[in-house]
Structures are given as structure tokens and as C-alpha cells.
């Protein structure tokens, strides 16, 4: 296993809040182009794990590197520019901006023209904004929500907002996508749609993806490798069929029959 294959490498990660170990000595890696799943019961530390990758949380110990560069203590916007993008468990779209504006934002989060041109309202500025809007429209098309491009994002239905989140995450110039429970609240049909969508995105955009999900079938169908987290510790790692039959995993999710004393 040579280093250039490893996109994301997490070593001996420890995140401690006072006496509570949210993440306890976790090692994970994602190879370039892999679709990896992260599952575990509620409170296992999955979102905390994402937060430490994206720079919203500073780990107590351990290292996180992406393409060889350390992510620790970098601000989230810098990490974003390194090619890592994410969706959130509770949807965090910009409610009062239009759908199109939401998706444009990652493209121009680092402004592509200077301040003075902006204030003077030069034609080059208007053209650049149009170019970005067209690029954003592509992502909207991809996610099937281009009909809503001028709607206020906050007024959209829950399902559409979820799609908007994904479209927005894609619009950033990314190579690693972190999805935090994208199927939350979806029924079976919607889940299948999502599986197809994510499968397509994975192939077409050539991304490495890490997926946190509670809908096990989504994880089993999409991911080539799965990590299981429980109470901050890595419980298991392996291919979908290995995880499915792992007794520790089953115990963690379903609990144990209490032995009669």
C-alpha cells in the first residue's frame, strides 16, 4: 500500500470532552476513489468524527492527513479548499437565498474577482457571475432540482432540501465528499433513488466518498468497505458481507439477551 493511494488517513484519533471519550483511538483511511461507509448506533461519534476532519473540532490527540497534508488546526474554509466537502446531519442550507445562489456559493467562496471590480460593477464581473451561475445550473440539473432554481431554499420540501445540500457540496471543487445521513427520513423508494444518484455521482465525478448512514441497505449497496463505530471505538472494519455477519456489530445494534442469573 503506497502513500499516493491514501487520500484520507486518520491515525490514533482521540477526541475527549472532559472525561468523555467521544472518539477513542480510531484509525481509518480512505483510498482515492473509494466509497467507504461509517455506521454505528446513535451517539457512536460518527458526526464528531466528520467534524474533526472538516476542522470544526480540534482533536485531543492523533493525526489526520489528506493527500499527505495535515488537517489538524486548519480552519474549515482552508480544508474546504483542499478538496473536502460535506453535507450536514441537520440540513444547513442558506434558507433565504435562492436554490441557485446556494449552489453558487462554494464556487465563489473565494471570490474570483477583486473588490474594486466588484464595487464598480464592471461588465467582466457580470460575465463572471453568469459563468458561475451556469456552472451551478449543471449541478442542479444533475440532482434534478433545476426547476426550483429561483425558489427560496428555505421554502423547499425536506427531500428537495436534502438534494440541494448534496448539489451544494458537489459544487465545491472537491475530491473527497463526506455525507452525513443523506437518507435520513426517506422511504424505500426515495432511498433507492438516492442510491442510484450517489452511485452515479461517485462514478462521474471521480470522488472519494465517506458515508454516514443508518439505512443499512444504502450502505451495503454503495460502499466497498465499511467501518463500524460504537461508543467512540472502532468496532469492526471490512467488506459489506463481513460486517453483516459480524456478531459484535449485531450485538452493538440489537443489544444482547440478558443472561438470567
Amino acid at each position: 500500500m503506497n502513500n499516493s493511494d491514501n487520500a484520507l488517513k486518520v491515525n490514533n484519533l482521540v477526541i475527549r470532552f472532559g472525561g468523555l471519550y467521544a472518539i477513542d483511538n480510531v484509525n481509518m483511511h480512505i483510498n482515492k476513489g473509494e466509497f467507504v461507509g461509517l455506521i454505528g448506533p446513535n451517539g457512536a461519534g460518527k458526526t464528531t468524527f466528520f467534524n474533526s476532519i472538516t476542522g470544526n473540532l480540534i482533536p485531543t490527540e492523533g493525526t489526520i492527513t489528506y493527500q499527505g497534508k495535515s488537517l489538524i488546526k486548519k480552519s474549515p474554509d482552508k480544508i474546504s479548499h483542499m478538496g473536502i466537502s460535506r453535507t450536514f446531519q441537520n440540513i444547513r442550507i442558506f434558507p433565504k437565498m435562492t436554490v441557485l445562489e446556494n449552489v453558487c456559493l462554494p464556487i465563489h467562496s473565494k471570490p474570483t474577482y477583486n473588490l474594486f471590480s466588484a464595487m464598480l460593477g464592471l461588465p467582466s464581473v457580470k460575465n463572471e457571475d453568469k459563468r458561475i451561475q451556469e456552472k451551478a445550473l449543471d449541478f442542479l440539473n444533475r440532482l434534478g432540482i433545476e426547476a426550483y432554481k429561483d425558489h427560496q431554499a428555505g421554502a423547499l420540501s425536506y427531500g428537495l432540501q436534502r438534494r440541494l445540500e448534496i448539489a451544494r457540496a458537489l459544487a465545491a471543487d472537491l475530491s473527497l465528499l463526506l455525507l452525513d445521513e443523506p437518507a435520513a427520513g426517506m422511504n424505500n423508494d426515495e432511498c433507492n433513488e438516492l442510491i442510484e444518484l450517489l452511485h452515479g455521482i461517485h462514478k462521474d465525478f471521480n470522488l472519494s466518498i465517506m458515508l454516514i448512514e443508518h439505512h443499512i441497505d444504502v450502505v451495503l449497496k454503495l460502499c466497498s468497505r465499511i467501518y463500524v463505530l460504537n461508543l467512540g471505538k472502532l468496532l469492526a472494519e471490512g467488506a459489506p458481507h463481513e460486517i453483516q455477519s459480524n456478531p459484535d456489530v449485531i450485538r452493538a445494534y440489537l443489544g444482547e439477551r440478558r443472561k438470567k442469573q
Binding site: D77, S80, I93, F94, L105, P111, M119, D129
Partner: protein
Amino acid sequence: MYIASVVVTICVNIVAVIGLALLTGYTGMFSLGHAGFMCIGAYVAVLLNKYFIVPYVFALILGGFASVLVSLIIGYPTLRNKLRGDYFAICMLGFGTVVRLILNNMNNPITNGALGITNIPKLTTLWSALLFMLVLVYFMWNFVNSQYGKNCVAIQQQEVAAEMMGVSIVRTKLLSLAISAFYCAVSGGILGFWLQYIAPATFSDTRSNDFLATLVTGGINSITGPLLASVFLTTMLEYLRFFANWRLVVYGLLFILIMRFLPEGIMGYKEFSLKNTIKFFKEFSQNKVKIMEKWMRFCAKLTKKTNNKERKL
């Protein structure tokens, strides 16, 4: 001559409020000390002109830069490390007072302490004030509709997501602060060269409160809203002297009520345009009945709320 005075005052207020609109209305940062930037801008501009024969426009711009520098120095410690907005608000509150305090106690023949500077040449004319106002509003309009403006708005609506999408929070907030300081400084300079007299008391807390009131009534995320509110409130102030004395009491109440019932202001997230006005009147006439019902339900809700309170206590 009197009308010219009112128009110039309106222009000065518009420029300052538009600057504050960027900071508070678009970026969501609360500041009550921007009269301090006005003060710095006015003093620097006036002194440069008086003692270094710097021409009018350059004096105003240099006054602006001086304010920008100060804003960055005191703003940076409170904006980095993702400190809560309260730090910034408290800092700005203190800033306004401290600027006045420092100037009040600099008793030298140049700045004259609390007595201020007199005999300032009347370099502001009605037309130059209007021109400045139009140009600066035009720049701000372009700014908020550009990528920079959208980044500011993103911070106000979802700071965490904005950062994760690549917006540098500290840099964007500092930019907002710097531009708002620049605008207030220039407006202070224009005022100084019109009144021909400036003193620390010219830039009191009352001014900051006036600006905030204009912003709150006009609406957040809007340029024309605060602009129209500024015209309206300044004119009211000039023509209703009684209003002048009690206006702050009214403003205080206004803040509470607007924040409670219509926090986004009268024109929040909307801009004034012919299309919008026509749409507004069309909707209004079509929905007269619905609007009346809504209003009656609202009044009923108000009285019901008071009853609820009594029961709970």
C-alpha cells in the same frame, strides 16, 4: 438654503446607514459604535485639509482609510477565533465612547478637546453631497450583489455551513467591518465640511442609535429599505421638532416591537423597484379581505397573549 441643509443631512445619513447596512443587515454583526468611525473620519479629513492643504475629496478618502485602520485594529481581536458576536458588540459599544473620550481630553490648540474645531471651510455643496451619496450607494449595491456580498449573507444565514463551503469567516467579517467604517468615516467628513464645525459631541451615541433605528425600520438584507427609511426619518426629524425630543423613546419601543413582530424590517430581503411596488399594490387590492382578516387575527393574538401572561404568573 434650509432645504439644502436637509438634503445634505439626508445624504450624510444615507451614506452612514448604507455602510452599517452591510455590517448589520447583510453580515449580521451588531455594532452601536459606528458614530466613532464617523468621528475619526471627520477629524482626520478636516485636519488634513486645514493643516496640510489636502484637497476635499482626498481628505475624505484619507479620513476613510484612517477609520478602516482603526476598525481593523480593534475589530480583529474580537472577530478571530470565532468569538461570539457579543464580544464584537461590546467592543463596538465601548469604542464609540472611548473615541469621544480621547478627543474630549486632547486639549491642544489643534483639536481643541471638547470645544471642537471651528472655521472649517464649507467644501461640501448640495450637489457634491448628492453625488457622493449616489456614487457610494451604487458601489454598495454592486458589492452586495457580487460574490463578496453573497459571502457576507451566507455568514449571516449559516455561518458553519458557509465556512465549510470555503468562506473565510474572519476575512469576510473584517472586510464588512472595514467597508462600513469607511462609509461612516466619509459621511462624517461630508458632514464636517458642511456644518463647518465638529466636536466630539457631534458624534454622540444618539447618532449611532439613529442609524440603528433607520436600519431596523428599513430592513435587513436590503439597500433601498434603509435608504428610504433614512429619507423618511431624517425628514421627520427636521420637520417635527417635538418628535426630535421624544424620538429616541419611540425608537426604543420601535426596536422592541419590530424585533418581536417583523424582525426583518419593513423591506427586509426586498428591494424597492417599480415592478415590486406594482406587484405590492396588486396583491394588496386582491387580498384586501385576507389582509383585514390577518390584521384582526393579529390584534386578537395580542390581546390573547396578555391574557395568557396573567394566567401564567
